[in-house]
């Protein structure tokens, strides 16, 4: 009893000290804004490239798009310029921001936009938006991109988390406090031994833990467990998720700009004979197909294509060079056949 009272008192004292520190060092006002804020700077790199290259087809996706699609090969096959936009670690929030703030804002508009995805990525707005992923989102977001903040961040927070972030200073400033408390302490030996700062540590990490340095099985396991989020019951429910996702906005922007949207579902090695695809995912794709038809969107589904054999994969997600050529040819054929319909 006595210890617990002392504990509560200590907690109040330490919270008070920490809150005072947060107010003095970081706060502009109170209560605090919930969730992170976008800064006003925005990258226009793809807008500039589109205007310069004037491609008829733009393909957008994450590292899987980079490993699976050869734009030069597609350009030769389709006899139309194809441009790639690949953002490693991208999710639907990032693709939405690039489409909204780089593709739709370009004076020149492509005829076709191919949006590459796997399974439920398009309707999982909370996928790849936290931590360092947020920094990438921020690069393509305007200050007033409230919808992106709402769907990607705020809707993913529990009411308790929102309350804590709004009113409890240590929670609101947790990233900064964590940085002071731990990261600076941890990095300090590097100064003494190597004269090395956080940037040098980060580049060492990037150099050493490049995907190619990882064991394929471990990499596959890591990638699969990082993507478990896409296969939760909630995320496999298309009807519920679609209205909370960026998909309707992406469709709307494409329609407004006379761009034919093609949703390209890629094949991954997550499921196998030993670990079959859940029935809910099949239902999800059927619903997505119906949604695409209703909205004049083309859905190309290579997820079960027998031509993409396991030998063509570098790991569970990315194709090798042979696979890349085959995939690019398959995609070009699909686009050609859709164009002739």
């Amino acid at each position: 009893m006595r210890e617990f009272k002392q504990y509560l008192l200590s907690l109040m004292i330490l919270s008070g000290i920490l809150s005072a520190f947060v107010f003095l060092r970081y706060a502009d006002g109170y209560p605090f804004p919930v969730g992170p804020q976008f800064n006003p700077q925005i990258r226009h790199i793809y807008e500039i490239t589109i205007e310069k290259e004037q491609p008829q087809i733009v393909v957008i996706g994450d590292s899987v798009a980079a490993s699976n699609i050869d734009p030069d090969l597609m350009t030769i096959q389709l006899k139309e310029p194809v441009m790639m936009i690949t953002e490693f670690g991208g999710g639907s929030a990032l693709f939405y921001l690039i489409i909204k703030n780089n593709i739709a804002t370009a004076e020149y508009k492509p005829d076709v936009l191919v949006l590459m995805f796997r399974d439920t990525v398009l309707t999982s707005p909370g996928f790849r938006v936290r931590g360092s992923y947020f920094a990438v989102l921020d690069e393509y977001a305007r200050r007033d991109d409230d919808l992106a903040l709402k769907l990607a961040v705020l809707d993913q927070m529990s009411p308790l988390e929102k309350l804590a972030e709004r009113y409890f200073p240590p929670y609101w400033a947790r990233w900064d406090l964590r940085s002071i408390l731990v990261f600076k302490t941890i990095n300090s030996p590097l100064w003494f031994l190597f004269g090395c700062d956080a940037t040098c540590y980060e580049s060492a990490m990037e150099e050493r833990f490049d995907d190619e340095a990882l064991e394929v099985d471990e990499l596959t396991e890591t990638m699969n467990s990082a993507e478990d989020f896409l296969y939760t019951d909630a995320n496999l429910d298309f009807e519920k998720q679609v209205e909370r996702s960026f998909l309707p906005e992406i469709v709307r922007i494409c329609k407004e700009n006379n761009i034919q949207l093609v949703l390209l579902r890629t094949k991954i090695q997550r499921f196998s004979r030993e670990n079959p695809e859940p029935a809910a995912l099949r239902e999800y794709i059927e619903d997505l197909n119906a949604y695409a038809e209703e909205n004049g969107v083309i859905l190309v589904d290579f997820a079960h294509d027998e031509r993409l054999q396991p030998a063509l994969f570098e790991d569970s997600h990315h194709l090798n060079e042979v696979g890349k050529r085959l995939f690019s040819e398959m995609l070009a054929e699909e686009i050609e056949s859709e164009a002739t319909r």
């Binding site: 617990f4 200590s10 907690l11 941890i186 030996p189 064991e215």
Partner: protein
Amino acid sequence: MSFISLEFWAFFTVILLFHWLIRNRHFQNPWLLFASYIFYGWLTPWYAILLAASTLADFYIARRMKQPGSRRQIHLALSILLNVGVLAFFKYYNFFNTQVAEALTGAGFSVDWFFIKILLPAGMSFYTLRKLAYMIDVSRGLLEPSEDLVSFALFVSFFPQLVAGPIDRYQTLMPQIQETRIWQPRFFYSAWPLLVTGFFKKIVIADTVRSIVDRIFALGEPSVILVLAGALGFTLQILADFSAYTDLSRGLAQLLGFSTSENFNKPYLSLTPTDFWNRWHITLSTWLRDYIFFPVRRALLRRTKPLPGWLNQSIPPLVTMFVSGIWHGAELTFVVWGIYYGFLIAGYQLAGLGGNWKPANRFTGVLAWLVMITLVAFGWLIFRAPSLPWLSDLFLHSEWASGRSDLIIAVIVLSMTAVYALPLVIKHLLDEHYPRGFAYSMYYAALTLCIIIFTNSVTSDFIYFQF
């Protein structure tokens, strides 16, 4: 449901409230049993069905043992066959199925169903040991078989302990299940420090250290220095992770009015391998000691043709630790890790450094500790290695350090391990010198604030769920 999810705490709040509102054990026990099965079957209901079926089987087999003229050994053999058989099936099926299926396919049989991957139900390894201990004790006449199915089923499935222990014995838990429980404030006062420590160890220490340790052990061709640093990081991670689960489990049990066993007693201060296993995963160690080590040793000593003394000393730890390795999983790394400890225990015993050994002076003590912590960290390296070929490649072909990046990362891992181990060291010092008082309260308040600051990062499952 993970103990650190909001979902679990919503569930637990409801269970706790009703548990204390009921105020009668005849209703409390069915309520807790119901809660345990909901908890266990939350994501995969058939796990709960399997648990119920195996519980029923053991309940009735144990009662049959008591009947006059009953052949206890046959009933015990049946129960062991059932428990070990089911556990072995789930644990080792995936290890063999692909090879068997490929062999059958090669012989022209269609065996698609053989390729189906069967997941080990979480916690099965733990509740199997709990039931086996009960069955063996009943067969030995040390226990009277339970007459109360609900109480027995609750003993087997008590949800704070179901998924990763501690493996409390019937003698410890059953008397508490069968007594009337009335809310007392001391339950809460015993529980809160355990809960705070558990959350802190899991959220702040284990999951943060894990982020870099996992990367090192995922490297295809790591350098030796990187892996050694990673092994030290894992040494901290596994202690924090597993003891966090135990702390949370004990805290939850306390809130429900149960006092359960400690599973860790400063294991990294051990001076010998025997000492380590007396302090690490204590409930598993005592289980292995009572049901594997002692019977093997007795069997050896009773041989009509006695073996040489060194063999009598070496075989029991080797067999026991081999079983421990297999129990941890169907990976050769676990088996080698178990045998490694078997050899260490036997070697120390033969060198006269057995369970009762005490250092002659402080210098010897420090030296013994340094040797032991190195051996423990090396053991964890074997345990965490992705495969045996990976491990042998590391020592036979890998470079010491493949560049400046390796040195930088190794320093960071060591620095991280030291920083995150600090709260555990402080806790140890507080326990030694200020077991109560304001410093103690300040410590827990600081841990709570750290938990708040470190939440909202990705939190993974507890490592011991997989066993």
